[in-house]
Amino acid sequence: MSEQTNGSKGTWTVKAGLAQMLKGGVIMDVVNAEQARIAEEAGAVAVMALERVPADIRDQGGVARMSDPEKIVEIMESTSIPVMAKARIGHFVEAQILEALGVDYIDESEVLTPADEEHHINKHDFTVPFVCGARNLGEALRRIGEGAAMIRTKGEAGTGDVVEAVRHARAVLGEIRRVQHMPTEELMSYAKSIGAPYDLVVRTAELGRLPVVNFAAGGVATPADAALMMQLGLDGVFVGSGIFKSGNPEKRAKAIVEAVTHYQDAKILAQVSRNLGEPMVGIGISTLPDNEKLAGRGW
């Protein structure tokens, strides 16, 4: 490769760097060009192009797969901000197709029906960067070990209930605080106990944070939910069904964007939370049978 003119593409700095540029922002699920324009107008930093939002995937059941490329291209052409799309866990051919379409980030997502119940995609093989869900530090570091350049909590997508996202954020951040204070000789057996690559455990202990950007996802429905995830210590927020399944998507989208920027300013949070119309209806996690929970997918 001619370094001087073309440069190096798909390097770790370039992949993790895009996620760094998304920090302090909101990534919104959209199903068509119209919604993508609403999201950009509201100040989203990126959109997730889908055929169905998680709440509808839950409703309709069946096998959930990568979206129709036609749909994804329509959304890519309608907006100037980055476009992400989802591939099934382990489905590296869906990921190859998404890369060929030119999407900016791939979400290897438990919201879709897994294609492999043992292995995730080897994300180092790709030029396009990946984001993956995690419930705890071990899972986050396994995904980073496979090449994920960004992590998000799994939460419980399509419910409008933030409790699982909080659980996963507290787990990851709590475990990071633990390793930070561990003597070095304890890190190896800790790495073994959480099933994480040793070098990434050491790196996390040194940094006092994940080695990549870490967003909240799965159940965020209000500006207060978004600010809660930011105050807990996450870098930004994905909102899936919470916006376009609500009564006034334009207003709610803008309010959540402002809540993420001003997450420590309760007066602004009070102001932006007013009169947003009906939130998405939501499903309480405690009423959800185990076999309908998505967060358990991924290994």
Binding site: E3, Q4, T5, N6, G7, S8, K9, G10, T11, T13, V14, G17, L18, Q20, M21, L22, K23, G24, G25, E40, E41, A42, G43, A44, V45, A46, M76, S80, I81, P82, E99, G102, V103, D104, Y105, T127, V128, P129, K254, V257, E258, V260, T261, H262, D265
Partner: protein
């Protein structure tokens, strides 16, 4: 010399800039509201999404305060920050419009075309600088008659670093590398500006 540099913290990679300034021993503060600009000696506008940063700046009444700030005080925009500082970008989104340059957004293509490359930059010495371009813009025109100096160019691609008096603009992300030389250049610009004020 004592100085305080603000970093616009509406969205994006502001923490990375604050860390680099800290390494140079410079106090840095986050700017989210107009009153946060008071008492600052200079400002950095970081990378992020320029549409998001512009809309939040407009909603929270920052556009006019930023326009008057950038007329007087050193300001540096990286990537989205460069777009936000430009006078012309050929599309409708909120801008500060301080630098006499035309900028094209996403000029290199989508994320799969993002890259890093060694470039030479005027004013920071002869060692190449590792420049990280992420869905980066390019400067398609710099009004040299209005005092815009070109500091770096990519062969066949265009201008990627400019200076116009007390304003600095880079299409790439020095805050994603360990190389502090551009931050040092900016700090020298702030020192020079402060010593003229004092005189």
């Amino acid at each position: 010399m004592n100085m305080t540099i603000g970093v616009l913290a509406l969205q994006g990679a502001f923490i990375e800039h604050i860390k680099m300034l800290a390494e140079l021993g410079v106090d840095a503060v986050e700017v989210r509201k107009p009153e946060h600009l008071d008492d600052l000696d200079a400002l950095i506008i970081p990378g992020g999404e320029s549409t998001t940063i512009g809309k939040l700046a407009r909603t929270y009444g920052l556009l006019d305060p930023l326009r008057s700030f950038t007329q007087q005080k050193p300001t540096w925009g990286t990537c989205a920050g460069l777009i936000f500082l430009a006078k012309r970008i050929g599309r409708d989104q909120p801008l500060v419009g301080a630098m006499d340059i035309t900028v094209e957004r996403n000029a290199f293509g989508r994320q799969v075309d993002s890259f890093e490359v060694d470039i030479l930059i005027e004013g920071i010495g002869d060692e190449p600088f590792r420049a990280v371009f992420i869905r980066a813009p390019v400067i398609t025109h710099a009004d040299e008659d209005k005092g815009v100096e070109v500091l770096a160019e990519l062969p066949e691609k265009g201008i990627v670093a400019v200076r116009q008096g007390h304003l600095l603009g880079t299409a790439f992300h020095p805050e994603l590398t360990a190389d502090c030389r551009l931050h040092e250049l900016f700090v020298r610009m702030v020192e020079a500006e402060k010593s003229t004020e004092g005189a």
